[in-house]
């Protein structure tokens, strides 16, 4: 049925290939390039053996059978590791070269910004840190920069009382990770489930969700946050307007503090969820529409499967795969948006730190934040990869 349609049709089903074409560096890993490649030839060693048997000797393949799912997808892992290493390398290099784009002498500006807190003798160290040390070659500076990074030395933050950048970031990171992380996961899960149902009940009353979520998705995060503060915090007083906890409260692992933290995080989290859920709903709905036309859905119905089982076990189970890939790719974008949320809510995470660093022209801190963000996004990507590899057995399939 659709084995032949996928090759004959025009741009139709192919348009999902860009989605499906795998996050990976290698297209070979792509799971959804239609039926063709899989029909063409069986893949791993055991199976090609099987095919070479005299086809009349049926049953012999059974003795060669291998348990599916136990193989390690080395090629997939290798490709991804290379990709992450390269991305990290690129991010670090961008960090190294950005100060060189500046007009004028960054160090002079930096010294001026520090308002006498920096000793003139620190200038040399700063020059090395910014890669503006004229006495050594660019190459040597680059190596030196790497050396500093590998020792966890991200420089000193002038806007935070000359504290090491790594410490300043370390204090802010947990707030961001918990707020942004949890809100993003909630948004993804809710959006995917809602999208699956909307796609399943196509043409139904739930279709109104599509334009609504589209609108919410195009509203800038920060503006939605401002409106929510105005309505829910200032006018209605349901939530505190900002910060992670009230100033008087002492942080500690007790019920008061935890409930304080949760009530403060509720509004920003809600904003993030509402602003980002639309994309997931829409993406999942569209994937469902494509998947619902697949043969295995008809087969499941012919098998007498109840609707719920067809929806979740067969349709949604397949439609969620491209969704996970989009999740990995969209993370960089989402993180950007959520950082601004922190600025709006004065939430003491990385985003607020970045805003303060920007206003104070605290370059070392800014660059450190960028690096940490890149690493966080990469870690999230790795997690998405693992989830994908678990959910899609075809990832284990490699090019012979």
């Amino acid at each position: 049925m659709s084995a032949d349609t996928s090759t004959t049709v025009g741009p139709g089903p192919d348009s999902r290939n860009p989605e499906n074409e795998a996050v990976g560096v290698q297209a070979a890993v792509a799971p959804g390039l239609g039926a063709a490649p899989i029909v063409a030839a069986p893949v791993s060693g055991a199976q090609s053996d099987a095919v070479q048997f005299d086809p009349t000797l049926v049953g012999t393949t059974a003795t060669k059978a291998e348990r599916g799912g136990s193989r390690v997808p080395w090629r997939f892992i290798g490709g991804r590791v290379l990709f992450y290493a390269f991305t990290a390398f690129a991010a670090i290099s961008i960090n190294f070269f950005i100060p060189r784009m500046m007009k004028g002498d960054a160090v002079q500006a930096y010294m001026a910004q520090s308002r006498g807190l920096l000793q003139p003798s620190a200038e040399k160290a700063l020059r090395i840190q910014f890669g503006l040390d004229n006495s050594t070659s660019l190459w040597q500076q680059y190596w030196h920069y790497w050396g500093m990074l590998l020792h966890g030395d991200l420089g000193i933050s002038i806007s935070s009382g000359m504290a090491p950048v790594s410490e300043v970031i370390g204090a802010a990171l947990p707030w961001t990770l918990s707020l942004v992380g949890i809100a993003t996961i909630i948004s993804f899960v809710v959006g995917t489930i809602v999208g699956a149902v909307v796609g399943w009940r196509r043409g139904g009353r739930l279709d109104f969700l599509v334009p609504v979520t589209t609108f919410l998705g195009t509203v800038p995060y920060f503006w939605l946050g401002l409106i929510f503060i105005a309505v829910f915090a200032s006018l209605l007083g349901w939530f505190p307007a900002g910060h992670a906890y009230e100033l008087g409260v002492t942080p500690g692992f007790n019920l008061d503090f935890i409930s304080e933290v949760i009530s403060h995080a509720a509004l920003p989290a809600l904003t993030i969820v509402i602003a980002s859920v639309g994309g997931w709903v829409l993406g999942m709905r569209n994937m469902m529409l494509t998947v619902l036309d697949e043969d295995y859905i008809t087969v499941a119905q012919a098998k007498g499967m109840p609707d719920r089982r067809v929806l979740w076990r067969y349709a949604a189970r397949n439609a969620v795969l491209p969704q996970i890939q989009s999740f990995a790719l969209a993370l960089g974008f989402i993180v950007g948006g959520t950082l601004v949320m922190e600025m709006v809510f004065s939430y003491p995470g990385i985003g607020l730190l970045l805003l303060n660093a920007t206003n104070a022209k605290d370059y070392a801190l800014m660059q450190g934040i960028f690096l940490v963000l890149v690493l966080a996004v990469l870690v999230a990507n790795i997690l998405a990869d693992i989830a994908y590899a678990i959910l899609d057995p075809r990832v284990r399939e490699t090019e012979a």
């Binding site: 025009g10 089903p13 297209a27 990709f83 503006w223 569209n286 790719l329 950007g336 970045l354």
Partner: protein, 362 residues
């Protein structure tokens, strides 16, 4: 199954998972049979805008464009003219959207802000799209490690968090010129388009008509310009629109944070001043319209893209439309069991009673 397809090929196809061999109409007129020229191909591809969603989006976008062009004629005041005798006025006939803390006319600021948003947004988007086409089509046409490394490059830019990068680059400059801001937005915005274009080019490259053109010995530039580019138009348009959305959001966010000099008036700058001067929550006329404008422009762009998506992947459109059409006829599009409706064949007059009696005799 195919009976309707062959006899009445122009009809709406009865498509559904239960009816195999019927997915053949998905070609959607992208590949025309006639002798192709770049012009005719281009005209054919304009069809992607000729659906209600795209048209609505284009009209809204066109209105914003006109406002931007004719800003000096539309705006009743100089957007930065202070009027200390009329500060924080609510909307009135003098000031349609009220005034700011120093008596600037918010409506005029919005009008001029449209210009700021669209100029930077369009420059950034054009840069990003050109880059996406160059990298994406090249990566799609090449094979092997060259293609892979270009793909890896765009994936890297996709994964890097764009906004922090923009903030950092923009803040390196005391007074960043507009072109630089546009360049930064473009630099962080091209990767998605390149990725999608690469995938589509790769699939096109193996399509019959491209193979045929290559076998005919058509020169490479002709293959790319005449055979492939028109078929990529929908993807290019969609990535253009997507990039524009991201650029507008990025620009207004940067302006809101205060990284972009306030002299460049755009909707984000208005929100920046509103936030700086405690407009929230009381002076709603100061901060609500700017945000709504961003959202409205975003909706317009999203509508254009929906139209293109449905044109490229007719399943999306037809699924919704068919489902609604079926609902009207009293059918559940998800029904796993075919409906029995004896009235349909016999036409008017004969109701289900007939089949009841028949059934009992059978």
């Amino acid at each position: 199954m195919n009976a309707p397809a062959e006899n009445t090929s122009t009809l709406v196809q009865p498509v559904g998972a239960g009816t195999p061999e019927t997915a053949s109409v998905l070609t959607a007129g992208l590949s025309t049979v006639k002798k192709k020229t770049f012009g005719s191909q281009l005209r054919a591809s304009l069809a992607m805008f000729s659906n209600p969603k795209s048209a609505t989006g284009l009209i809204i976008f066109g209105i914003f464009l006109l406002v931007a062009i004719f800003a000096p004629w539309i705006a009743p005041y100089d957007p930065t003219a202070q009027n200390l005798s009329a500060t924080l006025q609510p909307p009135s006939f003098q000031h349609l959207l009220g005034t700011t803390h120093i008596g600037e006319d918010v409506f005029s600021q919005i009008v001029y802000g449209t210009r700021g948003v669209l100029v930077v947004g369009l420059i950034a988007t054009i840069m990003a799209t050109v880059m996406a086409i160059v990298v994406g089509v090249t990566a799609g046409y090449l094979r092997g490690w060259k293609s892979e490394s270009l793909s890896a490059l765009s994936n890297v830019f996709l994964v890097l968090p764009a906004l922090p990068l923009m903030i950092i680059i923009a803040s390196q400059f005391q007074d960043p010129p507009l072109i630089l801001i546009a360049a930064v937005l473009g630099l962080t915005g091209w990767a998605w388009g390149a990725r999608v274009l690469r995938a589509q080019t790769m699939s096109l490259r193996n399509r019959d008509f491209v193979q045929a053109a290559r076998a005919n010995g058509e020169p490479l530039h002709r293959i790319i310009l005449v055979e492939m580019l028109p078929n990529l138009m929908a993807i290019i348009a969609s990535s253009f629109v997507g990039t524009m959305t991201a650029a507008v959001l990025g620009l207004t966010t940067l302006a809101f944070i205060g990284v972009i000099p306030v002299s460049n008036l755009n909707w984000g700058t208005i929100l920046f001043w509103a936030q700086q001067n405690n407009a929230f929550p009381d002076y709603w006329w100061w901060y609500v319209p700017a945000g709504l404008c961003i959202a409205l422009l975003g909706v317009a762009l999203a509508l254009i893209n929906f139209g293109i998506d449905e044109y490229v992947n007719p399943r999306l459109r037809s699924a919704g439309e068919r489902a609604r059409a079926m609902k009207k006829k009293g059918m559940d599009p998800n029904a796993a069991v075919t409906q029995v409706r004896p009235d349909l064949a016999a036409g008017a007059g004969v109701r289900s009673g007939r089949s009841k009696s028949e059934r009992s005799t059978a």
